[in-house]
Structure formats: C-alpha cells, structure tokens
C-alpha cells in the first residue's frame, strides 16, 4: 500500500477541517471574544509546529510506522507501553466522532431515525473503504472529496460576503487580552494537532520527505480557511450570538440568502461535511486497526477492523447525551491528556531520544 504526497495533503486537510469548523469556533469565541480569529492564527502556527515535529520524528525511520519505530527507539517493552495512550486516544475518539456526526445528521436531516441506525450505516461505509482499499483507498477518496470539501467552505464564505459588517470585530485586543486569546486557541490546537496521525501514515508515502511538507501545507490551508471563516462568523453574527450558537459555521451556511432564491444551502453543506467526517473516521479506523495488528503481531490487520468497529459502536453509544459526548469529552480528556501527552509530549520525547540514538549509532559506525 502506497500513497502519494498529494494524497497526504488532501487527507490531512479534509480530516481536519470538518470537525474544526464544527466544534472549535464556539468555545474559542466564548473565550477570546471578537479576537478569536487571532487565537486561530496562533493555534494554526502551533498545529503546524506539531505536524512538523511529528513529521521529523517519522523521517528518522521512514519505512516504519509509529508502532514500529517507538520500539526501535525505546526498546521492545517500553516502546510497546508508550503507544498505549494512543490506542485509548484513537478508539475513544472514533466513538465520539461517530456520535457527534450522527447527532448532527440526525438533527439536520433525519429527525426520526434512531441514532444507532445512522451510526451503523456510516460505520459500514468506513469499514468497506478500509477492507477493500486500505490506506490507498482512503487516499484516493480524499483526493476526490478533499477539493469538494474545501470548495464548499470557500463558497459558503463567499456567499456570505453580503452579510458582513466589518466593524463588529472592533475593538481589537482590549476586550480580551493576551491570556484569553491564547486560551481561546487551546481547543483549536487540540484539533489541528490531530495531524500527529502522520506518524502512522508517513511510512506509506512514496516520498516521505515531501510528504511532511505537504502535510504541513494541509494544516496551513485549513488554518487559513478556518481563520477567515471565524472572522466572517464574527462579522455576520457579532460576538454575543456566535459564542452561544453551538455550530456557528452551520448557522452561517443557513444564513446565506442571495437574490431571494439561493437559500437553505445548509443541506448541501451538511452532505459535503459528511465527506470530511467519512475521511476522518476511515483514517482513524485504519490507523487503530493497523496499529493494533502491528502491536500484537497479528499478520492480517483487516481482521482487527471488526474488533475496532464493534468497540466504536459501543463507545459511541455510552454517552447519555450530546453534551457529554462533545463538551465533557473535550474538557475532561481531550484537552488535559491528549493535547499535552499524545500530541506534544510523546512525539517530542521520541524525537529527542531518536536523534540522540541515531547520532550515537553514526559515531559508533
């Protein structure tokens, strides 16, 4: 299985943009007020940093996945233990994404369909692309869907230009201050940082070095689009409304009205947004199945898909309501554990040790 550098770009961009647009803007605006767009710039830079670090780490062993090279760097046992947080991260987030996305689909499109059915349908699709295509299939899907997703975002932004009142973002800085701006950037960073998935994907690329560059570009493009859309949300709805709306970006899509007939575009936006969720879920499913297989030395990683699939159904249905699934999961687990440990701590640690080991090997030889 091989993927190209452009596929890496489209994979990273489309897996990031869907959830970032859905879930990060409201908390960021609540924290940083009308300066939330500055938070998104900071967050984007941090996200690029995380991507770059993960990429550099993977380039130390360009032919191995994260599960393999953590053992090469730390030794057999320590290397196996240090990836456990990632399995918790991947499996739990699959459940949460399933839950949230089905919840949105249920809310906007199918109000009377049971959640379970929506989750299973989406899951079957994701299993199918993994089973038949593997990472190659996912890569090709993202090459087709990615442009559509970005185009959808750009069109939404464009069609809302007539609703802008630019002075709604004033006064800059005085209402929030540096602390709030940085704090507002926290949630976005934790979503941009999902590009650490690269550590698993890079070994499949034909040109790993270019793969890193393109992944960074992926995060960069997402940052630019999300920052602009945050600015636009603020200029359309003002700071008070947009911090209280759960999904301000979707609200903005609903708000489009051009010449009296171009209205109710939110259905198109939702459908294309599901593409992004599909790619994200496929990648997570692939990464966790493949990772577990390598971890337990199972030869056929496709068998693990079924285990992960069943686990993710259970993990998506254990939450009592959508507040727990989105807000509590984010605040109690994702921000305090995943962001500092899985996205920053462990990659930097491995990178440091890896570089030292490589150097000492070279001096030995």
């Amino acid at each position: 299985m091989k993927i190209s550098k452009y596929q890496i770009f489209w994979m990273i961009a489309s897996l990031e943009i869907g959830m970032v647009l859905l879930l990060t803007q409201s908390p960021a605006i609540e924290e940083a007020k009308q300066d939330a767009w500055i938070s998104f710039i900071f967050a984007g830079l941090a996200g690029i940093g995380i991507t770059f670090a993960a990429g550099k780490l993977s380039l130390l062993y360009p032919n191995q996945t994260f599960i393999q090279y953590s053992q090469s760097i730390l030794g057999k046992w320590l290397g196996r233990i240090i990836v456990i947080p990632y399995f918790i991260h991947w499996l739990s987030v699959i459940g949460v994404i399933f839950r949230q996305s089905s919840e949105i689909i249920q809310m906007t499109l199918f109000t009377r369909t049971p959640l379970f059915i929506l989750i299973v349908l989406l899951l079957l699709l994701v299993i199918y692309v993994n089973y038949i295509g593997g990472i190659e299939g996912i890569g090709r899907c993202s090459e087709i869907m990615g442009p559509l997703i970005l185009l959808m975002v750009i069109i939404t932004l464009f069609l809302n230009f007539n609703n802008i009142e630019w002075d709604k973002i004033l006064p800059v800085y005085t209402d929030s201050g540096l602390k709030s701006i940085l704090q507002g950037g926290l949630t976005p960073v934790s979503f941009y940082g999902e590009s650490v998935l690269m550590m698993m994907l890079l070994s499949f690329t034909e040109e790993p070095k270019k793969g890193v560059t393109w992944a960074v570009w992926g995060v960069g493009v997402v940052t630019i689009l999300v920052t602009i859309s945050t600015l636009e949300i603020l200029m359309v709805f003002g700071v008070n409304l947009s911090s209280r709306l759960w999904y301000p970006y979707f609200e903005m899509a609903r708000y489009i009205s051009l010449m009296q007939f171009l209205q109710n575009l939110e259905i198109v936006v939702t459908v294309i947004w599901i593409f992004s969720i599909f790619i994200k879920l496929s990648i997570y499913l692939f990464v966790s199945s493949y990772g577990i297989a390598q971890w337990l030395n199972i030869k056929d990683w496709r068998k693990v898909i079924w285990f992960v699939a069943i686990a993710s159904i259970v993990l998506s249905l254990i939450y009592p309501n959508n507040n727990v699934a989105s807000v509590s999961y984010l605040e109690k687990y994702w921000l305090p554990f995943v962001l500092p440990i899985n996205m920053i701590g462990i990659p930097l640690l491995l990178w440091g040790i890896g570089v030292i080991r490589k150097n000492s090997q070279q001096t030995d030889a």
Partner: protein, 396 residues
C-alpha cells in the same frame, strides 16, 4: 458456495436498509405555516395563530373560490405547547420551517417577549433568517385575517413591503437577537399597522377594505419589553444612523422659498464619533448621502449650480433638524440606546466602556449630540427648469 452465501447475506441486509426514507413525510401530510402570530390573553397564556397554506387552492383564486390559506389559533404556556395544541386542530403535521413572517401583538410585546424567543434559535428547523414584526394597536390574529389581495399568502406581503421600503433583507430577527444579547445597543422590531385601504383614517372598519401597512419601529428595552414606537420617518433616520438605509426618497421644503424638492437618496453613510471629556460623552454624527432630483415643485432652474447648492443647503438643514429631533426623542423619552451609540463608545474607548456599560442608558440620555448632514446632489434628471413654467416664472 461461501461466496454465494455471502452475496445472499448482503442482499438480505440491503433489503432491510434500503426500504426507503425513514423520515419521509409526504408534502400533503404537512401543514406548511408561512405566517405566525403571537398574542397573550389576560391569564398570561400565549395565543398562537397560524396562516397555513391550503395547497390545492393556491393559484386558483382567479376561479373565485377559496383563499389559498386558512387561519387557525391555539393557546398554550409556550410556543411548543401552542404548537401541540394547534396540532389537535389540524389533520396534517405542523411544519414550521417555512415561516417567513412572525407577528407579535402589542399587548404581548408590552409584557415582554423574552419567553418566546429561545425556541427560534434552538430548533434547527426554524430559520434564523425570519422577519419579526410588532402589530401596533392590535392582536397578531387580526393581522393574519386581513385579506390582502396582491399576494397569495397575505403574510408574505409584510416581508416584501419591508424589503421594498429600504429595509435590509430578512435580518430583523438576527438583528433583534444581536441587540438583545449585547450591551450598547437595544433591540428594535419593525411595526405593522392595520388600516382601511380606501380612505386613510376611515373609522368604519369593513373587512373587505382592510389592509395593512408598514409602520415605523418598535423600541424594546433590555428586558425585551416594548417601551415605545418610532414613526416611519423617524425609523428612516434610525436606519441612516446605523448605516443600514438603502435607497430612499426624501422630500423637503425649500428654505425661504415656495415649493418643495424631492430626491431619490442613495449611498447613505453615517459616522458616529464619541468624544469623552470630563467623564461626559459627546457624540458627533456625520451623515452623508447622494441624491438624484426626481421632483422639483419650485421655480428654480436646476441648470444653475447656485440653485443646486441652495437645494442641498435646504436638505442638509431640514434633515439635520429632523435628525436632532429623532435622536432627542429617543434619548429623553425612551432612554434606550437603539442607535448603537454605546457600541461606538465600546469601539473607541474600550476601557471606559467597561465602567460605563452598567448604567449606559443614563449616560446615553444625558449625552450631547451634534449632527452634520451632507447630502450631495449628483444629477437633476432630464430637465433644468420645470417644463410647464413660462420663461418669466423661472428663477435663474
């Protein structure tokens, strides 16, 4: 063999999954509500009235029978309760997504409307792009029953009237929510009035000659209670100040001369400059716009630049006086900042604003204002002096 079994299994699974849409609701099972009215009775219960499309009869009115819609009402403790009770009267499912116009009766507005708003932003089916109106001197139900002839659905007429008289398109609800949720600007809603169509001021109300028209603006305080009204002309002043006025026709008497001049005004801009001195705020409001002369009921020959300047001067003076009257009325009578002056302070003096925002309405009503209007006339139409005047009557 196993392969065949697999295929069979897949086909059976698909049979269950592709039976059709789970959420299908046929269009003829829906009661599509276009206009919605809110009132409150003496007990404090809400009365909801709905203008519902009768699909078979829309567009067939020329044959003389049927109105294309029916009006139904129900009471309840909240909007949801009302909808539930309304459903008991309807054979089709209540379908709210197409509500274009929502009208609030004056009594309910005076009692405060904060209890009915949440549902509009929480439910994903309900569009945030709705038109809210307040019905002056009456109940919303009366409005929904007015047989307006020009549109198939009378309630959409209100929306179209609003859009064709310089109002921004369908943003009243969002603007209202923005005003309600932020400090420094108070929410307002446009007004509808029921009148007799034949003669204005005719007291005898016959159902057939009843119609409605767009009024000015209803002013709400921060508790979302109605506190007063602006007339239509004053509402135009307000739109100009908050930078939302599109094209609008203005007429003014000429200073020191007989007759009046009408222009079509465009490119209206406003600039509010707060200046803080000794803990007192002063507002300098600069309003500008361009105009095209559409009517000249004076003897002036508009080929002469000095005459144009004279018209401009008259406009500036008269508009300025009117503007000052409007602002003073808002300041002294209603003591509610519906003009966004507070926001301009917030933008220019963010630190001061943190202290001031608590008792802003007092500061607002005490503030001094100066208004400068600068209307520039760009074109005069295709005649200089009026064509019907004799040479001797024309004033060069």
């Amino acid at each position: 063999m196993i392969k065949r079994l697999k295929i069979c299994l897949i086909i059976i699974v698909c049979m269950f999954l592709t039976t059709g849409c789970w959420d299908e609701r046929e269009i003829n099972d829906r009661a599509i509500i276009l206009g919605w009215g809110f009132d409150q009775n003496e007990d404090g219960d809400y009365i909801g009235s709905a203008q519902i499309v009768v699909p078979g009869e829309v567009g067939e009115r020329s044959s003389g029978q049927g109105k294309g819609y029916i009006v139904e009402t129900a009471t309840g403790k909240s909007l949801l309760d009302v909808t539930q009770n309304l459903q008991r009267k309807l054979s089709r499912n209540v379908f709210l997504s197409h509500q274009k116009v929502i009208v609030i009766g004056e009594r309910l507005a005076r009692n405060g409307i904060s209890n009915i708003l949440d549902v509009y932003s929480r439910q994903p089916e309900l569009p945030i792009r709705t038109n809210f109106f307040v019905l002056k001197n009456g109940d919303a139900l009366d409005f929904l029953e007015v047989p307006y002839k020009m549109e198939d659905m009378p309630s959409t007429a209100a929306m179209k009237m609003f859009q064709s008289t310089a109002g921004p398109e369908s943003t009243t609800f969002k603007d209202f929510l923005e005003g309600a949720s932020s400090e420094g600007i108070s929410p307002t809603l446009p007004i509808l009035e029921i009148i007799s169509s034949k003669k204005e001021g005719n007291q005898e109300k016959e159902k057939d000659s009843e119609t409605f028209r767009l009024g000015g603006r209803a002013i709400f305080n921060q508790n979302l209670e109605l506190v007063g009204f602006l007339s239509y002309r004053e509402a135009v002043d307000r739109l100009w100040i908050i930078n939302k006025l599109n094209t609008h026709n203005l007429t003014t008497n000429l200073l020191g001369e007989e007759g009046n001049v009408g222009i079509m005004g465009m490119n209206f801009k406003s600039k509010i400059q707060p200046i803080i001195q000794n803990n007192q705020v002063e507002f300098h409001i600069t309003l500008s716009g361009t105009g095209v002369v559409r009517e000249n009921n004076t003897a002036l020959d508009l080929k002469q630049t000095k005459n144009l300047q004279r018209i401009e001067r008259s406009f500036n003076k008269n508009l300025q006086d009117h503007m000052i009257n409007t602002i003073t009325k808002v300041q002294k009578e209603y003591k509610t900042d519906i003009l966004g002056f507070g926001q301009s302070v917030h933008k220019k003096y963010p630190r001061k604003w943190k202290i001031w925002k608590k008792d802003w309405s007092k500061k607002f009503s005490d503030a001094d204002i100066t208004v400068k209007v600068d209307v520039h006339i760009e074109r005069t139409g295709v005649t200089g002096a009026p064509l019907h005047l004799k040479e001797s009557e024309i004033q060069k």
